[in-house]
Structure formats: C-alpha cells, structure tokens
C-alpha cells in the first residue's frame, strides 16, 4: 500500500447515480477505516485540530479507529460535535482539518472526514448514543431553529444539564440539513433524523411549527414562558434574485424553493402531493454548494443541466468534491458567463436566457478577480427552468420583533464571535443569521461557542 495515498472510498457509479437519489458516497467499511487511520501520524501538535471549527480531538479519535475501538472513537468525537454523521459528509475538510494535515505536504492528507463519517455511522448502526448529563440544573434555555447551529447549541447545553427547548418554524427538525442539502449527499432518514434523535436523547425538547417573531416573540419567551436565555440560530433567509427582465416568469425558481420542494416536501418520491417542475433543459445560475445541489437534483429529475457562473472554475465557491461529482454526473459548466435577461414565451413561461460572456479583470474586495462583461458577446440559450442560486439575505422576522437586538448594515444579527452574545441581555446568536450564508460546520462552531457563552452567563447570574 502506498502510504502517500489515501484508501479510496467507494462511490455509486456516476451514470447510475445521476438518475437516482441514493447517497453518492458509500463510505469506508471497518477494514478500510482502520487502514486509513493507520496513515495518521498522531502529531503531538496536531495542525488538523486547529483547522476544525469545533476542535474535535482528531488524532485521539483516529488513534482509536486504528485500534478498532470504534465506540471510544465515537465518544471522543461526540464530546466536541453533536452531528458527526453530518459533518463527515458535508464539511469542507479540504480547507479545514485535511488542509492542515502534515501527510498532505508530500502526499494525500488523511481522509479525516471519511473517518469521522465511518465512526458516526458505525455508532448509529450499533445503537450507541452520546453520553447524557448526570444531573439537571433547572435553567430553561430556548433555541430558535433546529439547523446545525441550533442542534449543536442545544446538544451542548443539554450535556451541561440545561433544560432546552428548540423552536422550529418548519414541520420537521433539521433546518438546512432537511430542506436544503439533498438526499444523495445527506440521507434524511438514516442520517439527519438519527442525529436529531441523538440530540433529543440528551433531553432536548423540539417544538415544530413555531415561527418565532410570529407565533411568539423572544420577549414573550423570556417574560412569559420562563426562558432565562435564548439562542438564535434561525439561518439565512430570503433568497436573492438578479433583478433582470423575465425573472418573474413561470419556471424561474430560487434554489431554496426548488430544493425545499424536492428535499423537505419530497416531491421526487411517488405518493407525495407537492409538485416540482423538473424541466427538460435547466439553467442554474451561481457557483456555490447550493447551486451544485440544485443542479445535481435537476439532473436526477431527468433534465439537461447547465451551471452558469460569472467567474472561472478556480473561483467556484463550491467544494471541490461537489464540482467534481456534478461534472461526473454530466452537469455542464458554462463558466465566465452571466445571464442578462430571461426570455419569456407568450404564455408567460421562461423559454431561455440571453447570456453574456465575461472575462476576469482586477481583484475586487473579496480578493477574487472581478468578472467583466465582454462587449457584444451575448448569445441565447434555451431553457424551460431557471434556478437562481445567488445566496440569501437575512430574514427580518426575529430582528424586527425583538426589542434591543442590534443588526448590522446587511441586517445580520450582531453577535460576539467568542461567545455569541448579542446586544440584548440573555440573547445569543450564531450561524447564518449572524454571518450570512456560510457552512454547516461554521454554524456548528458558532452554536458551540454560544452554548459556552450561555453557560457562563447563567452560571454567573
């Protein structure tokens, strides 16, 4: 075995999977995991841990995997992470833990993400639960949103003995893990529901169908329902559109709508009532992970799919693995191009897009080279569905109904990065509601920091 190379992970064949919603990556088995774990050098001053937003003891758990002690490995991970089966699947490890791995200097870094996933899956299959708090402290904390930030914050607080209730606006817990990330990347029943059950097994209560700011406000939760602290992990919010002609035509969707219909409402499954317009030729505008998810979903629903992105491949914000998988599955990348108008037929349905070619100019504020239109390069492309995946802007439901909660100029909630504290006493926040759209693991890191902040606040009160 070449120690510079990682143990390859088994995947569903690209042609087969591009027509089904089964998980793409099949994960390691016990032998493969132990072989891959053996590549870890067990560094004393582990760089990988510095790349992890929730500081998992990576050499510690991998050391246990190497020995075949999978339950011990799971308990080490679950000290730091409430959602290891999720993180092992959707974290951008290449820029975090694996990006700092010493093995990566000469060869391929240790497959930390795949090992984490293996350990979490093994624990679930063997009925192992995270350790519960020994005694309760009687303090009530409300957590708003059951996405990665909320679940992490709630799980950590419950482990410390707090009486935690999560309020979720949708009918199912999991936030973006349920409505956003598709089944083929993150199985809902097998993985997400199981992780939510793990958090509940710590004593956390989850109340679905409660829209904070509408059903009840934060002030009412604190003044009338006896919650001593509140964590806001309400997620990103309102989808952005381009503001170009034709955008209100039928067949033009936000990625959020397209993905929610498919993932949360299960439009892709027989027997579910919610419709989805699959399209024959689909354009997805944008280059992030959400764009990849929308494109790969449309592909599985039977369409020819084009990703239209205004910069080049190098600037694609999506994870390398997602881009790679999308290409393997036959998604076509139209890079350095941007729609300037959507074309609409007499019935009001989108029938295509007018697209202009771009070239890269000087770097802009984000450090990426600014795309500039190439004059006279417009052309038309047919499409019966256009999906806008341009990010989101914050939802004002909570900030506009909570007295004394400051927001910044982008309308994101202002919170201290170290402990999640907001401008309002007892109210903490983290995740996309604070940072704008980011990753699952960063939201988890923020949920973790806020759990610590809330514990310090209530302990000293």
């Amino acid at each position: 075995m070449d120690v510079l190379k990682r143990v390859p992970v088994r995947e569903q064949d690209a042609v087969v999977r591009s027509a089904n919603f089964e998980e793409v990556c099949l994960g390691y088995n016990e032998e493969e995991a132990m072989a891959e774990a053996a590549r870890c050098l067990g560094c004393k001053n582990a760089q990988c841990m510095k790349g992890c937003p929730v500081s998992i003891d990576i050499p510690g758990f991998i050391g246990q995997v190497k020995e075949g002690n999978f339950e011990e490995a799971y308990q080490i991970i679950s000290k730091s992470s409430a959602l290891p089966a999720v993180c092992g699947r959707v974290c951008p490890q290449e820029t975090q833990c694996e990006g700092k791995c010493i093995r990566g200097i000469k060869g391929e870094p240790v497959a930390i993400g795949k090992l984490e996933r293996f350990v979490a899956d093994w624990a679930r299959e063997h009925g192992i639960k995270p350790a519960k708090a020994e005694k309760l402290n009687g303090h009530k904390v409300a957590v708003i949103g059951s996405g990665p930030a909320g679940l992490t914050c709630a799980g950590d607080l419950a482990k410390m003995g707090y009486d935690v209730t999560i309020f979720e606006a949708l009918h199912e817990a999991g936030g973006v893990l349920i409505y956003g990330i598709p089944e083929f990347r993150l199985p809902k029943q097998k993985v997400v529901a199981a992780e939510v059950e793990n958090v509940k097994s710590l004593g956390v209560k989850i109340e679905t169908n409660v829209v904070i700011g509408k059903s009840v406000t934060i002030d009412e939760l604190m003044e009338e329902e006896g919650f001593e602290a509140v964590f806001i992990g309400s997620g990103a919010g309102l989808p952005k559109f381009m503001g170009i002609p034709g955008e209100q035509a039928m067949g033009v969707f936000s990625a959020n709508e397209f993905l929610t219909r498919n993932n949360l409402m299960k439009a892709f499954l027989e027997g579910y009532d919610t419709p989805i317009k699959a399209g024959k030729k689909v354009i997805v505008v944008g280059g992030g992970n959400v764009a990849m998810d929308a494109a790969r979903t449309a592909k599985r629903l039977g369409a020819e799919v084009h990703i239209v992105y205004r910069r080049s491949e190098e600037e694609l914000p999506a994870r390398v693995e997602e881009v790679h998988h999308a290409k393997e599955e036959g998604v076509i990348f139209d890079l350095l191009q941007n729609p300037v108008e959507l074309l609409v037929d007499e019935a009001g349905c989108v029938k295509g897009a007018k697209i202009i070619k771009m070239e890269l100019g000087e770097p802009d504020a984000s450090g990426r080279r600014r795309p500039v239109e190439v004059p006279g390069s417009e052309y038309e492309i047919e499409a019966d569905v256009v999906i806008m995946s341009l990010g989101t802007s914050p939802n004002p439901l909570i900030s506009s109904t909570t007295k004394g909660l400051d927001v910044n100029k982008w309308k994101c909630i202002v919170a201290d990065e170290a402990n999640g504290a907001t401008s309002k006493e007892g109210v903490y926040a983290g995740g996309d509601a604070v940072t704008g759209a980011a990753t699952v693991i960063l939201a988890m890191g923020a949920g973790k920091a806020a759990a610590k902040g809330i514990d310090e606040y209530l302990s000293n009160k």
Partner: protein, 292 residues
C-alpha cells in the same frame, strides 16, 4: 397534532373547520394566515385565518375544494387532526394598526368574493368590536355558494349581496355592485377587496378610477411561508415583494395582477392537467390545488 373540533359544510365544496392550535390563537390578528399540512405526504397549504378564539385556543379556517390536496382535507372529520398547523404568518391587516378614532371617521368598504368572504369576516368583526362601522359587498357565483351571510350581517352596517347568476341579491359582480352604489351617491374613503385574483383586479381597476385607496390580500403559491423560498414573490409597483412576509395585504393599485395570475398557474401544465383530469374525474378543476 392539531385536532379538528368543529367541521361544517358551508356550501358546495366549501368547508369550515375549527382547529385547536393554542400557539397560533394566542397572538394572531385579522389579515394573517396559517399553513396546514394534513399528513406526512401532504402539501403545505396556506389559508387565511377566518376567525379565532384565544380562550379556546382555536382557529377557524374556511377552504374550497380546488384540487387533490383540498379534496383530501374534506375527508377529515371532528376528532381527526392536522399533522401540522403553523402560524400566524404574514402581517396583520393595516387597519388593525390604525388609530380607532381615525378609523371611525372613515367610510370603509369591503368587497368579498367567493371564499374571500372568510378572510374579510375577521376584519369586519374586529372593526365592529372597536365601534367602527363599515359596509360589505359579498358576492358569489350563485346563492348556494354564498357563505357566512348571517355572520357578516351581524357585524357590518350595510351588507350588499351579489350573485353572478342573479339567484339572490344584486345580479352581477361585486365590482358592478360598487359601481351601482357609487352611481347612487355612496362614497368611500377606503376599500379592502379579497377574493379570486381576477375579481380583485377588476375591483382595483374601478376603485382606481373612483380614487378609493384599495388594499387586497394576495394568495399566491407558497411553500414555507416564512420568507425562505420566494415562490410567493409578486411585483408591487416597481418592487418584488414576498407575499408571505411582506404581505399578504398590498396596495391593490400597485399589484401586477396579470403576472400574479400567471404565476399562480405555475404548476398547471398541459400534461399535468390531462393526468389529473384522468385521475380526479369530476373533481378536477385545474388540478394543482392552487387555482381559484
């Protein structure tokens, strides 16, 4: 689960239900809506709140059978429950936020069409409870489709009933009734029109000519109802608004109704229609569950 505690058939294909949902009943206001989901496989269906009882913790909803999902709702009886019932969503009616003394000085008219009578009712009732008089025009296709007539009569000053076929009351549309009242010398300072989009479009066309500010309540396709998906977006003036968080009420003179009507037909494809017509037979009205 959210149990159904009362169920009545109001007219052909129109039903009323009281649903136990204490969190929704505690803070809801006229003008807001709820989203219901029957069971695991059901759609999320937005419905405007028709009435509420804070003490009992119940919400009254009224719905018309228009497609597969609402057809399934008909099968639910007292004692059955919705798996999900979320709200209140959207903003309360503008009238609720206004100074009651100022409202008393205004001549207010409501124009309700079809099941649009249901969301008009709590607003008129609220005004009545606050000592504000208003007139109501309520219309339907024919007498047997008229709903909540007695309830409405009890809370408004003048009630004008219209039917398209003349089987009861004024023969013609609500818009025609308003024109007739105007011609007889009636004057209004404020109008609220709620009903099928086509009806709201024509009421607004007339009130614009007559110079009466008019509020409409939009009922576009929605998924989450909390601002996340953008399915309910519509053009108001030169801005794109989300009906679920910015509405559902908007200035009717600024709404692009033609576009809103097209968007409402989003899932009514030819293929889909044909398939649903086959499956649903006589109950098929366009098939998607979102048509009027």
């Amino acid at each position: 689960m959210y149990p159904i505690v009362r169920r009545e058939q109001l007219a052909d294909k129109i039903y009323l239900m009281d649903v136990k949902a204490p969190r929704v009943a505690q803070y809801c206001e006229p003008g807001q809506f709820v989203i219901v989901k029957i069971d695991e496989v059901g759609e999320r269906i937005p419905l405007t709140i028709c009435d509420y009882n804070r003490a009992e913790g119940t919400i009254t909803i009224v719905f018309q059978v228009v497609g597969a999902s609402t057809q399934r709702m008909v099968d639910l009886q007292v004692g059955d429950a919705f798996q999900d019932f979320v709200g209140p969503l959207g903003c309360a009616s503008d009238l609720i936020g206004e100074d009651v003394e100022e409202l008393k000085k205004k001549k207010i008219l409501f124009v309700a069409g079809g099941v649009g009578t249901a969301p008009v009712y709590p607003q008129v009732k609220w005004l009545h409870e606050h000592g504000v008089d208003c007139d109501v025009i309520m219309g339907s296709r024919s007498k047997d489709l008229l709903i909540l007539e007695d309830e409405m009569r009890a809370v408004c000053k003048n009630l004008y009933v219209t039917t398209d076929d003349g089987s009861y009351g004024f023969k013609g549309t609500g818009t025609a009734q308003l024109q007739a009242l105007w011609d007889e010398g009636a004057r209004y300072d404020h109008c609220v029109a709620i009903g099928p989009m086509i009806m709201m479009k024509f009421v607004c066309k007339l009130t614009k000519e007559l110079g009466i500010p008019t509020i409409v309540s939009m009922n576009p396709i929605m998924v989450d109802g909390t601002g996340m998906c953008g399915a309910c977006r519509l053009v108001v003036g030169d801005q794109v608004k989300f009906a679920c968080v910015d509405g559902p009420e908007f200035d009717g003179h600024l709404v692009d109704f033609d576009q809103a009507m097209r968007r409402q037909a989003q899932y009514k494809t030819e293929e889909g229609r044909a398939m649903l017509a086959l499956e649903e037979g006589d109950t098929h009205h366009g098939g998607c569950g979102h048509c009027n």
